[in-house]
Amino acid sequence: MDVKNTPSYLYWLFCQFELITCSYLMEPWEKVLFYSFNLAMLGLLLYTTYICLAFHASSLKINPLKYKNTMSPFSLTPYSLLFTFHTLPV
């Protein structure tokens, strides 16, 4: 595929996405549903990434040994995350 500029490349990438996920074959309302679901998922992913990154970044500054028994960064669940997020010592 010889691509002339960025917009056409992005359009081509979008076409590939449509072909792989079969949204190419969908009716318009199905496409709306499919894309909004995907965008929502993407948004959720970005949001949780943002929160986790904030937590990891802040946990880097503190002494890990001190909080060893209270929580491990590997046992993160959304619930514990929300619960501990506000109670973290700064």
Binding site: M1, W12, C15, Q16, E18, L19, I20, T21, C22, S23, Y24, L25, M26, E27, E30, F34
Partner: protein
Amino acid sequence: MELHERPRANGCGGARGALRNGFVRGPPGTQINHIVHNGGLYKRPFNEAFEETPMLVAVLTYVGYGVLTLFGYLRDFMRQWKIEKCQNATEREEQKDFVPLYQDFENFYNRNLYMRIRDSWNRPICSVPGAKVDMMERVSHDYNWTFTYTGRVIKDIINMGSYNYLGFAQKTGACQEAAAKVLSQYGAGVCSTRQEMGNLDKHEELEKLVARFLGVESAMAYGMGFATNSMNIPALVGKGCLILSDELNHASLVLGARLSGATIRIFKHNNMQSLEKLLKDAIVHGQPRTRRPWKKILILYLYLDEAHSIGALGPSGRGVVDYFGLDPEDVDVMMGTFTKSFGAAGGYIGGKKELIDYLRTYSHSAAYATSMSPPVVEQIITSVKCIMGEDGTTIGRARVQQLAENTRYFRRRLKEMGFIIYGNEDSPVVPLMLYMPAKIGAFGREMLKRNIGVVVVGFPATPIIESRARFCLSAAHTKEMLDTALKEINEVGDLLQLKYSRRRLVPLLDRPFDETTYEETED
């Protein structure tokens, strides 16, 4: 013991430790063992390649089917609750406690997956299906549930879909003239069967000619190629007999085998070891339950179905027997059709005189089917004579050579472009792998937009992830046409990312073999 010293006709086994399925085992480090070489005794190498499906492509294909299936469930839910208008067949209200008719997977597939790409199939054409074809334009306003014709005709589409191998599907030329002459003599219909008033001198002439063409003692012609298989196998075998059938055999052979009531055993595609094992087991154990010996054993390998190969393969166009330089006498039942290379309709069975005489008496096709239309018979006679060179020209031979040349050229170019191409390198049917369901529809539409008619194939005709486009080459294609087609295929291949090939070949044996296809008809 002497038997084992001689190399066997199927090319497997032999004195020096059986090579699996006759593979060429190269020195370590070489990759030539990926090419199936299924017969050391054939005069010609048997180069058949099936490139492995790339893992990523397989995963993405399943993702696509997953998305479509989820949306299918959603649509079914909406139809059930009358949120959406239901356009497909449903159970009748008064039969709601009966066995459901529309709930199996094939119905789900038709409603929710096939319907989205249905416009790629059954397009009506309105000219002779030669190298170029005219097609009726049609549109759908309700997402392929119904079609309306715009009244316009799409002219001069390059036809890559018809099984017109030797280009005898013509509206001009010697065949057409001869058929027209016979039409004015005999008319179009015969209105009777071969055993009653429908046995014309033309039929006798055709059968003698076909027997001579095939190099067999006797032959019989039928009005329909599919029925030739499905109606004659039940005449040959019955209850208490055994049929050994290739796993990829055509639907007509499968139907015929099932109708016969014989026990069916399936061997792996083109795999002589698998056949040998099944045959040994079957002979040792005998009939199921009773353990009596089999009445008859029909191996659908010595029953040779040459539907596509006759006319298309071999230096003189006499099919696979000619291609491998074998003796037609070694094949018990030679079957083939006139629908493809000869541009006509019908099928034939050739073999020993006793066999054909038996079939003339007992075959359903002979007793119940109306005999072939005389102009069709004349078309076959003229085209067979043309291939044999009995019309005094070399047109037939030139066409066979042209087809072989076109096939090699087309396959080589597609491989160079990086597509995954299946099959034997001399086969004029060229499957190009598409894999993903959305690409089936997209490929058909994009090619038609570029004035090239192709056939795309998906489930249930192929395994679910092995969707493909199937090009059929013809001697009528000129080099310019092929170059145009290749240029457009290249363009569409880039657009849809179809160039999956990583040039790694897997041997035939590693193809998945579904154990559940093994079946047995219990009486």
